[in-house]
Subunit: 312 residues, 2 copies
Amino acid sequence: MSVASAGEFGLIARVTARLGSGATVLLGPGDDAAVVSAPDARVAASTDVLVEGRHFRRDWSSATDVGHRAAAANLADIAAMGAVPTALLVALCIPTDLEVRWAEELADGLGAEAALVGASVVGGDMSSSPTLTIAVTALGDLGGRAPVVRSGARPGDVVALAGRIGYAAAGYTVLSRGFRTPKLLVEAYRRPEVPYRAGPQAARLGATSMIDVSDGLLADLGHVASASEVGIDLRSGAFEIPAQMRDAAHALGIDPYAWVLGGGDDHALAATFPAQVALPDDWRVIGRVVDGTGLTVDGKPYKGSAGWDHFR
Amino acid sequence: MSVASAGEFGLIARVTARLGSGATVLLGPGDDAAVVSAPDARVAASTDVLVEGRHFRRDWSSATDVGHRAAAANLADIAAMGAVPTALLVALCIPTDLEVRWAEELADGLGAEAALVGASVVGGDMSSSPTLTIAVTALGDLGGRAPVVRSGARPGDVVALAGRIGYAAAGYTVLSRGFRTPKLLVEAYRRPEVPYRAGPQAARLGATSMIDVSDGLLADLGHVASASEVGIDLRSGAFEIPAQMRDAAHALGIDPYAWVLGGGDDHALAATFPAQVALPDDWRVIGRVVDGTGLTVDGKPYKGSAGWDHFR
């Protein structure tokens, strides 16, 4: 059945029926607005939009995959402030010939990813559009802590990373060359594994700055360096390149560091910490904050790859 | 200059520079998420999306008009819960050949409409897309009051309306027939005048239900009747039809009540109140809540017009 034959209200009812509701939801979907708890009298809020053809392809990702990824991109932004996500709102623009099943499975993915952190889809809007578009807003609870912003890094801090890096970019490259394996990389592109809990954890540990790596590690740490008016030097030896990534890079004639340093979409978290902070296993040190400006790798400007140039 | 030549970060910088920031904003645009105050430990949140060709046309409305309308549609949803809007987040999907000036003027409209209620644009996202799309999320403060939902209307309540009704639908009809006047109607379509303050006012007065009239008065009060398990009877004599609307309807061979009862987009607020409540001038009584189901006009089922059928 197409969404046109289900009708707007029919589709909303079908999709809403599939969504759960968590403890943070005081009033869920179905009224003019939802009401979400904001225990410390502040709410963190972020919006990210995915456009078919630019951010996803229906032949590369299932509807559930796209739902997971749309939710993850937004939930990661909330985690990157040191907050715990509470709610998602979703504006869905869909071609009238789209199958209802696709929209339902998208909702399943959105709801399942939100449930990983105890959040729920609390509202949304639907419209027909020639271009399949998913705009998601995430809300979050800072738990009484100050938000961890981009501008607090200080010379002497260590730079640390939580989560995988380069996997999704490698998966994207593999898919765009017409392959469907290695599964590790392709699945990482389809459904990022975001280190959500590392965000509030970093805030509690006294992180001086934090960012969600969505544009690529060098680009995003470049935002931190610029906002903090410092330089950042990364150690290339700090990054583990898994065998599947190394093999795929070799087969495709690509430097795997192009994926690690230049690729986005894994939604790793990068943060800076005072040097004396004992970091738990979720975080691994990848570099340090220095006097100066901009990013270096092993003390030198990075001129490695098309990946990096492209993402700039 | 096109948005493609400005680049994503250039465009974001230009647009952000035009936005003001109100007292509710604890952390504005530029980080992974914004932080907005939520004084009573709850936040009302709603999302509405406008798609070019379906919700607006660039030859009918200026970019500033579209910004006003996109903001108004969302701010009205917050007001309809009895809340005061605090913040907007905007996902903007734009064709690469769009002029930067259009995006800047859109931001001006969004910011100016938000400023009417003391709210600010606190964040957003941009992507290129073949289809110009504006998804807005509004946040709001309930001020310690219970949200006014759709399900609380009780037989014996009066039904009251705040704001203009039918003006925008009439303006849309006039534009779609190729006319640019009467100015009153065309301007009402381009920039709704939303009775924002009437929302929290109704909550304080003890409104039993409330809704933002966006799909048409009968359709939206139909949602209230259905959620509240009551009937609603409207008095046709309660609606003032301004001379310009009457004249335009006559010239076009249209029943003006099709616009008043079936037209959306003015973002009037409709609410039900206990009969003993003394209503201020912002609210005028247009009917009453009765035992039963569904909507009647002057005690009879309304079969007036294509407008009504169309909006169903």
